[in-house]
Symmetry: C2
Subunit: 231 residues, 2 copies
């Protein structure tokens, strides 16, 4: 039950991390609003998962905003570049979308401000840091300060708070949270490159990290996969 009636504005991609983040916000007593960005990603299946998660978690207002980043190019997630399937590398991956979290946090701020919500929830976590600069805690903190300075809500005394409850969790921790919160993993979608039949490939970075997480946590992932990794 919400004691405060405060609204959490959740950036809900439809992936495992954002599903668990939304459920944590709800458990903390927030009412839920959610924003999903349809940015021309190859894995549109994620958008269906976002809608279904929003319904299951009782989100009061869910907006799916079209934003065609293919106009800009530059990422394997939106352009015609092959998604790698040979394993997770250490550098910034080709699936990096230019300034994505900067953009998505800005959109979440605009959405939150328009409905008077000052609590933003985003599912970035420890494992994302190495590859994606826009997942690092110092970026998130700097964004919060920028949003405070650049919005009516920030200036008039209700600064935005950016909650990243998975920040220090591994994928294993997140898998455990998923089960603890009674969420079915298969409601969420992680795969960057599903089969034509809509089955998760099992081999892209995102599938590999997800499977490793459930394996580490020794809990079952109910998601079917098209192929097994050789890890």
């Amino acid at each position: 039950m919400s004691e405060s009636g405060k609204i959490a504005t959740v950036l809900l991609s439809g992936g495992l991390d954002s599903m668990v983040t939304a459920a944590i916000a709800r458990e903390s007593g927030f009412r839920l609003h959610a924003l999903t960005i349809d940015y021309g990603q190859r894995h549109v299946r994620e958008l269906k998962s976002a809608s279904s998660i929003a319904k299951k978690l009782g989100v009061e207002r869910h907006v799916t905003l079209p934003l065609d980043l293919r106009e800009f190019g530059g990422s394997a997630l939106t352009a015609d570049i092959d998604v790698p399937k040979t394993g997770v590398a250490d550098d910034i991956p080709v699936t990096y979308v230019p300034a994505r979290n900067l953009l998505f946090l800005a959109l979440t701020t605009a959405f939150a401000e328009s409905s008077g919500s000052s609590d933003l929830f985003i599912g970035v976590n420890a494992l994302d840091y190495s590859g994606y600069p826009d997942c690092r805690p110092e970026f998130i903190a700097s964004f919060a300060e920028t949003a405070r300075l650049g919005t009516k809500q920030g200036v008039e005394g209700v600064p935005f708070q950016i909650h990243a409850p998975l920040q220090h969790m591994t994928k294993g921790d997140i898998a455990r949270e998923c089960i603890r919160l009674s969420l079915d993993p298969a409601w969420s979608w992680s795969c960057y490159d599903p089969s034509p039949q809509g089955i998760a490939c099992g081999l892209c970075d995102s599938c590999r990290l997800r499977r490793k997480g459930f394996a580490e946590a020794r809990v079952a992932d109910s998601t079917p996969y098209a192929a097994d990794t050789d890890d």
Copy 2:
């Protein structure tokens, strides 16, 4: 002529300020890319001006990105709220669009990063500060730091520089710059609420500030207006 071949990525709304900003970037030796956001603003006439300015200034890549902020609501520029015509007030105006410049700068950063440009140009100026928090210099500086932390380009050593060449100019200064740079004021569009025939109203905040600027600078504004102010 460009000595460096460096690209300036200009946020080009189609208004007077962004036109003058783009011309200053060109004069400084940059090649021009421009981003226009079609955010469901009432004054779509501005978008036509942006295209025409881009052609006249020799912009090499001009993207007009649809982004339907009407989904969020909350501003007289995108929602069904009357645009005030009785004069410019001191507080944050109803034409404030939630987190607009935060969002537009984030989009400009994403566009710039996708084409390897690290110089962003935005037409904010002194007169905007009082009303719009997202035009203040401390916001722009904080945004630059956030973009540095949250992008591949920033992390790998080519931080974004945000140029706001009109920052300390009044509307009068901008009108003078417009003439000095041989730009026709009527290429640009400022009115928030044009007549059905597409004539600038002359009475909204944006028309009032523009007319005041040209009057102060004692230079002619070639734009036709539907009504005269009683100032």
